[in-house]
């Protein structure tokens, strides 16, 4: 019941509930159920090419249905932004639908719609991606349009001013009027100081208010180039045909300058941080985040896989410890969860979260979550629990192949965070190799108070007469 996909902002909400749900499920699975986060396929089934202008092309054939998914991934997102400029990646993503030299505003969407396609885009902390889902023969259309907006975008100041207002409405819908999203945003801002994960993907409202079209121009010039992009195509296609097509459509896009940016790894945390967010709400809520390495930064990869298993021990299904003990056993929690994104680009958090059950306090909830952390540090995880997690991972790798979109998405993510798509082939074996001792070891090493941030949502009465003070963002 907790809204899970906090880090994603996107171009538009699908118009049917079913589509929205399916769309969100991709993210939920990928970002949070670390265990189910990557598909594993035989290495031979992914075909990799590189164009002369530096663009990488990945093709994953899947002939089950006559459809194709094409995604273009740029290595840029809110974690690349800095103070004062937050939200620029996402606003630019919106502007990518607003016209190029060849195609007027909205034409991209209209053409894809005429072809029976579905399309959208999403911005995350670590990447910005654009996609079309089409009947397979329509792939060239997607390529022509996508290649065009990679280098021919027109950033019209008047359209920009309008689109910015749309994004502000998006922020109000997704964050400002959602007490738990608001808590989550403040939580990340407190946990990270100099790292790019300090920033919300949607951007701070005041930064949005002062954003201008020149900021977008600079951002577009800096990051939108074939040498910073990956094309992923999955579906009923022949890899060499796709490569030939990619050369034809993307080959002429000029190479950009060498990509160079500062990594901004978070500096060492010295001591626990605690914040309170007070907002009109009915239910209290707690977030506890421990600083942890991820696959892209770990000195020892084994630790990362052990952290992933640890997350599964706590929350890998309805039989896992949180459901068993916190929801059913002691009935302390109405909801409890653990999450860890091992495919983040830079060091991230392992997050525990909970909503107390009626009659229980946020303090009890915190104590219970801490109790589970202590238990991981002192006791070895039961062999049966480990086996169960491994069974789920094996099954999940089969289930994932039911979605062409998902298959393309896992390739895009791994490529965009710098790990390389091949990493997915290692996942099951690495998880299988995790031992109970390793889980205890990473719990002891990383789940420590000095690296902990705690945020609680303190519900204020929902007083109809106390409207929030809203800075009215009139453009200057």
């Amino acid at each position: 019941m907790i809204r899970l996909s906090y880090h994603v902002a996107n171009h538009w909400v699908s118009s049917t509930a079913e589509e929205t749900l399916n769309f969100l499920k991709h993210f939920v699975a990928l970002f949070l159920l670390g265990l189910a986060a990557t598909s594993v396929q035989a290495a031979a089934s992914v075909h990799e090419y590189r164009l002369a202008n530096g663009m990488k092309v990945l093709v994953k054939p899947d002939h089950r249905a006559p459809v194709v998914v094409a995604q273009v991934w740029y290595k840029v997102g809110s974690s690349y932004e800095w103070s004062g400029l937050t939200g620029v990646s996402h606003v630019l993503e919106h502007m990518m639908f607003n016209g190029t030299k060849k195609h007027g505003r909205g034409e991209f969407s209209r053409i894809i719609a005429e072809q029976g396609g579905r399309e959208n885009a999403f911005t995350s902390r670590d990447y910005t991606a654009y996609f079309q889902q089409l009947e397979k023969s329509r792939l060239p259309i997607s390529m022509e349009l996508e290649a065009d907006r990679m280098h021919n975008l027109v950033l019209d100041p008047k359209i920009f001013a309008k689109e910015l207002k749309v994004v502000m409405e998006e922020r109000r819908t997704r964050t400002d009027d959602q007490p738990r999203s608001l808590t989550y945003e403040q939580f990340y801002a407190a946990a990270f100081t100099n790292s790019g994960y300090h920033n919300p993907t949607i951007g701070w409202m005041n930064d949005l208010d002062t954003l201008n079209v020149d900021d977008l121009r600079a951002w577009y010039k800096e990051w939108y180039a074939p040498n910073n992009a990956t094309l992923v195509v999955a579906g009923d296609v022949d890899p060499d045909d796709v490569y030939a097509m990619a050369k034809r459509y993307y080959g002429d896009v000029p190479k950009g300058k060498a990509i160079n940016f500062k990594p901004r790894q978070e500096s060492e945390q010295h001591g626990e941080r605690r914040i309170v967010v007070a907002a009109p709400a009915k239910l209290p809520f707690i977030l506890m985040g421990y600083k942890v390495p991820v696959l892209a930064t770990a000195k020892d990869e084994k630790e990362v896989y052990a952290l992933d298993v640890l997350t599964g021990v706590l929350d890998g299904g309805n039989s896992a410890r949180f459901a068993r003990d916190l929801i059913r056993g002691r009935q302390l929690a109405a909801s409890a969860g653990a999450s860890y994104s091992m495919y983040a680009r830079i060091n991230d958090l392992l997050i525990l979260q909970g909503i107390p059950a009626n009659g229980h306090t946020i303090q009890e909830m915190e104590a219970a979550l801490r109790g589970h952390v202590e238990r991981l540090k002192t006791e070895l995880v039961d062999e049966k629990e480990l086996q169960r997690i491994k069974a789920q991972v094996i099954a999940a790798k089969v289930y994932e192949k039911d979605s062409v979109f998902y298959q393309a998405m896992s390739l895009g993510i791994l490529e965009s965070v710098g790990l390389g798509w091949q990493k997915q082939d290692e996942y099951v074996d690495k998880i299988k190799a995790v031992t109970a001792e390793q889980v205890r070891e990473v719990a002891r090493k990383y789940l420590i108070d000095d690296h902990l941030t705690v945020a609680t949502l303190k519900p204020l009465p929902i007083d109809p007469n106390k409207a929030p003070v809203m800075p009215l963002p009139e453009r200057h």
Partner: protein, 454 residues
Amino acid sequence: MKIPTSYRPLIILLIGIALVTGYAWMSGDMHEPVKVKGLAIKSWTTTNGARVYYVPATSLPMIDVRVVFDAGSARDGKQFGIAQLTNELLPEGAGDWNAQQLAERFEDVGADFSNDAERDMAVISLRSLTEKKWLDTALETMATIISQPRFDQKDIDRDRQLQLVSIEEQQQSPEAIADKLFYKNLYGDDHPYAHSSMGNKATLTSIKREDLVAFHKQYYVGKNAVVAIVGDVDEKQAHQIAEQVVGTLPAGETPAALPEPKPLAKSVTVRQVYPTTQTHLLAGVIGLERGDKDYFPLYVGNHILGGSGFSSRMMAEIREKRALAYSAYSYFLPMHVRGPFQMGAQTRNDKAEETLKLMKQELRTFVAQGPTADELEHAKRNITGGFPLKLASNKNIVQYLAMIGFYKLPLNYLDKFNQQINAVTLKQIKDAFKRRVDPDKLLTVIVGADAKQQ
């Protein structure tokens, strides 16, 4: 037998594109018409009267089984929330197993189990590998959950508390508040669609164990069940699976038809002041039932009005031209008896009035004039061209099968879908909207802060 569905030649679509753009793909290798296979659905009835819908899918070693009962909150009677609570309690204890054991039985074999109750349907679904030992365990567990729930008092008490928290959860969401008000005021107090499937505190606390047992006994029966199966099993196995998961249920009876909802006699506006930065706006009327004769004209018409994202009029007027909202939409939700037609948008409080006016104006214009020929052509291309995407995963297919079965749609519903879309005319859309959507008998729901106070 697979029934091929004929499609308009791609070249016609390309001409359409050429008018707009004239691009390189014109000279490409795209002269083949789109070929799309229909679904070869097999259907039969189990010994106890459950209707089964099956499609083989052999390329992955997995199976989806979705069991649907006419046991959603429309069957609550006066005990609002009982359908949801009954459904919620199924995997909390069944046969010899408690909730922990049931969950372990699924998760030990990597199976995904889920369940939920909406207004019409109570759903139980399973996804499993077809590896025999694993599948047998998963199916045995699912069958036990469906046929032998225990309804232990401690589980009832706990799940009731969780449902009460979910109700509070809805109370802190302006979107959920608006939705609740919409159904309540559109259907009036007596209709079974009027209340939220969560129920309310008073009704939930009054539900006793024997009520839940009785609800299960009446509605979780063979004649009230639909089983959809998609996966790597042959027809003989599919027969066995259907018998295994629902075959031991008593045949029981099909419940009586739901009452026909009555449209509003005049326009009604409901306002709830709520301390948010945005105002949530909903407007609508009572719309369509599944299998409705006006379904296709209204579906295509709505696609143009507010059902197709950026191609829709609402998105163009509210978002693209005026930047009033991030999302603006409309939809028909066809149900057993007429479900709602709803338009919606969220905007900052000081723009609520303007946005609402626009929404209503768009509706009025659309009902009076209908779409243009270009809009209709565009919508048809979008809907029919996107057909292959509908059937691209087992997950989608199993959902369609369950829907076709539950609402007793023809087995060739999907095969005929594009044909039906292509047959829709401007006149039919205009005529259907005029008869079915009256802008002068509209329900409007407004939830947000009063802009004048800011």
